[in-house]
């Protein structure tokens, strides 16, 4: 599904990712953890194609194709979904209208028939139930005045509607109370399937109480310094990041 090789990424001329290697196979859930400033969000953004994040070397293959030369919308149409840490407000654009446009844009790009209004409404109702969102939000401007929890539900709704092949959650759990956390986790768990992969970027282990990852990677100073299974996340929860930092720094100073 996704093969990242020796990827280096700069933001405003500053190298943030200093050689990332990662392979994600269909159906796998990878958690990317790490202290603040380690480059977690950079990884999420460069995969989604955000302009300021410039890949200076290395390669990213997505479904056998060079991902880095695709535009943001082409990546989305090819099934890459990024759940935002801070979903953006679009005044005057109703959530329903936005959802309809995006679902059909993606369907069209994938050669599927666009949904008519009735089919769309049925689909939305179905998925809204799944993420436990208030249907009234559909008529409001996208994300405008939404509470933190509502924004996250809206992100999960979008994920459910767009049916991505690779979903990347960029600290989606930050600032969420336990109920909202469960919403996110439930959505992910329901969408887990043999041909859909997830990359979950998170600072805290607590989300991983609800979403059990296949792999946990610790990012530090722009490199993956440790990989393991869910027990690594537990260890980080108990011991914090310091031991990892020390270990990595001592290796680096050799």
């Amino acid at each position: 599904m996704l093969i990242i090789k020796d990827l280096k990424v700069s933001v405003e001329e500053k190298e943030i990712l200093q050689g990332i290697n990662l392979e994600v196979k269909p159906g796998e859930v990878h958690a990317i953890m790490g202290p603040n400033g380690s480059g977690k969000s950079t990884l999420a953004n460069v995969l989604a194609g955000r302009e300021e994040y410039v890949a200076t070397s290395g390669s990213v293959l997505y479904q056998g194709e060079n991902l880095l030369e695709k535009e943001v919308d082409e990546r989305a149409q090819a099934g890459i979904f990024l759940a935002f840490q801070y979903p953006v407000e679009i005044p005057g654009v109703s959530t329903a209208n936005f959802l309809k446009s995006t679902v059909n844009a993606v369907r069209k790009a994938q050669g599927k028939e666009e949904l008519n209004a009735v089919q769309m409404l049925r689909l939305m109702r179905d998925k809204i139930k799944m993420v436990g969102m208030d249907e009234k939000l559909l008529q409001r401007s996208l994300n405008e005045g939404f509470s933190g929890g509502e924004k996250k539900r809206s992100e999960m709704l979008q994920m459910a509607l767009l049916e991505p092949r690779l979903a990347i959650l960029d600290e989606t759990d930050s600032g969420l109370d336990i109920d909202a956390l469960r919403i996110v986790a439930d959505a992910v768990n329901q969408l887990r399937s043999a041909d859909r992969s997830f990359i979950i970027v998170t600072h805290y282990q607590r989300l991983l109480n609800y979403i059990v990852p296949d792999y946990v990677h610790v990012l530090y100073k722009g490199r993956i310094v440790k990989s393991g299974d869910k027990s690594l996340a537990m260890q980080l929860e108990e011991q914090g990041y310091d031991w990892i930092k020390e270990e990595a720094d001592s290796v680096a100073s050799l």
């Binding site: 989604a48 194609g49 955000r50 302009e51 535009e71 943001v72 919308d73 990546r75 989305a76 149409q77 979904f81 990024l82 935002f84 979903p87 953006v88 679009i90 005044p91 005057g92 654009v93 936005f98 446009s101 995006t102 844009a105 993606v106 790009a109 401007s141 979008q158 767009l162």
Partner: protein, 481 residues
């Protein structure tokens, strides 16, 4: 320049799709302006003497006036002797039905997408089409006349309803009002006249399409709408012009007159040729539009979507004389490339409990300059007047300008006046978010801009709202950053 800005700027190479010319034989008078020319125009239209004199008085007044220099726009001096003041499609005899109309002319209107044919009339739009100076055909007239509604070309109204024209012509915008209004009063060639009798709700949208076709002609049309007690009318106006390298002058006057409990909605989608990408050519759109809420509880709403013209200079205004009368102004003004717009409104509160709302959305792209200029005036006797103004500017790219000039004159302490203003840029964050969900860059920009203009589009009749959205998309294709 960021990559997305570049991509976006590439999209701007969209062309003006109404830029064709038509080979229609015209009756054109020589260039230049003089008392003789004013008389000639009046004579060509078989006008009564009082109207000839009215024109001449306006002309003489105009001679003593100077062109306004205060708008925030720049253009070389206009040579008023280098303009043709009258051009009319030649016709051999009076036409009885659509079948007799010059096929070239019909073709022109088809290209414009004007619903002249009967099918579209069923959609409920009655059309008066003004080509260059003359009103070519007013459709649906019989049906309207059953209700006592008059919807005709201005010339015809002068012939058929001289008493109404004499009573209301210049009653809202006097010939001496300003430079361009005076010029228009002297040389106006045609336009539309609407009269809605007492208690009648006009059952369909009335619509005029203006088209400049001849080279070097100015277009000086006049629209007069009178709504009697308790009546209602919604009026739409659309405009296009061929692509010409030289600038052409359009100086129209629109007067709205609302009596007790009457409502007039006036919507404009203005898409005059804006000039090319380097700023060559395009229409100078110097227009005076004013509505008088003469009666109690009357209401006038101006809604405009302005995407065309090289230079726009217009301030559709409301004089709220009747007690409890309401004035509204909803505007989207888009400038791209080298377009300049100085536009806004005046809300003059004279009566008690008068209310006004101003929602102005400016969008600047390319190298353009977009100014909002608005006056809210509350007179001494206007107890409990209330105004709410919201002026938003959206910038696309970093070479354009947005300016806001709000003026406030309040002479009554009970007045409540609120003003809000914002300036924003289309955010990279917004674009990235929408594109990450699979929308193309163009669709993402359109979605953001349409959302921004939503409050204004909501005021437009359905058909026009769709047209306005399309127009906006064309005008702005890719001009973001």
């Amino acid at each position: 320049m960021s990559e997305s800005m570049q991509t976006l700027e590439e999209h701007t190479r969209s062309d003006y799709k109404y830029g064709f010319t038509s080979n229609i034989e015209s009756d054109v008078i020589p260039k230049g302006l003089s008392e003789d020319v004013v008389r000639l125009i009046s004579q060509k239209k078989n006008e009564p003497e009082w109207l000839t004199e009215w024109r001449l008085a306006a002309y003489r007044h105009w001679l003593g006036m100077t062109e306004p220099k205060w708008p925030n726009v720049h253009y070389p001096p206009i040579d008023y002797q280098d303009i043709i003041y009258y051009a009319a499609p030649k016709k051999k005899e009076q036409l009885k039905s659509l079948d007799e109309v010059d096929p070239e002319l019909l073709e022109t209107f088809n290209k414009l997408g004007i619903p002249l044919d009967e099918q579209k009339l069923l959609a409920g739009v009655a059309v008066d089409a003004v080509l260059d100076s003359v009103s070519v055909k007013t459709t649906y007239k019989e049906k309207l006349s059953e209700l006592g509604i008059i919807f005709s070309s201005f010339s015809e109204a002068v012939r058929e309803h001289p008493e109404l024209i004499r009573k209301y012509l210049g009653s809202v915008v006097p010939p001496t009002d300003n430079y361009f209004a005076a010029l228009n009063s002297a040389v106006f060639s045609d336009g539309s006249f609407v009269y809605i009798p007492k208690g009648v709700r006009c059952p369909m949208e009335l619509s005029t399409y203006f088209r400049i076709n001849e080279r070097n002609t100015g277009q000086f049309e006049r629209t007069l709408i009178v709504a009697e007690e308790g009546s209602y009318v919604s009026y739409l106006e659309g405009c296009t012009a061929p692509m010409r390298d030289e600038n052409q002058l359009h100086a129209a006057v629109v007067e709205l007159y609302a009596l007790d409990e009457a409502t007039i909605k006036y919507s404009t989608v203005q898409n005059w040729y804006p000039g090319d990408k380097e700023g060559k050519g395009g229409i100078y759109n110097f227009v005076t539009k004013r509505g008088l809420c003469a009666g109690r509880n009357s209401k006038i709403t101006w809604t405009q979507v302005e995407t065309g013209s090289a230079i726009t200079w217009k301030y559709p205004s409301c004089v709220l004389r009747g007690d409890n009368s309401v004035g509204e102004f909803y505007s989207v003004a888009v400038t791209n490339n080298y377009q300049q717009a100085d536009t806004g409104t005046k809300m003059v509160h004279l009566g008690k409990n008068t209310r006004s709302t101003i929602i102005s959305k400016g969008i600047s792209a390319g190298f353009s300059n977009n100014s909002y200029r608005g006056l809210v005036k509350v007179g001494k006797k206007a107890e409990n007047a209330h105004n709410f103004s919201q002026c938003d500017s959206l910038l696309m790219g970093d070479k354009c300008g947005a300016h806001t000039f709000p003026y406030l004159e309040v002479e009554n302490k009970t007045a409540r006046v609120e003003h809000e203003a914002t300036t924003s840029k289309i955010g990279e964050d917004q674009l990235f978010y929408l594109m990450q969900r699979g929308l193309s860059e163009e669709d993402a920009v359109n979605m953001i801009v349409n959302g921004y203009c939503k409050e204004v589009f909501n005021e437009l009749p359905m058909e026009f709202a769709v047209e306005a959205q399309k127009l906006l998309a064309i005008s702005l294709e890719g001009s973001v950053g």
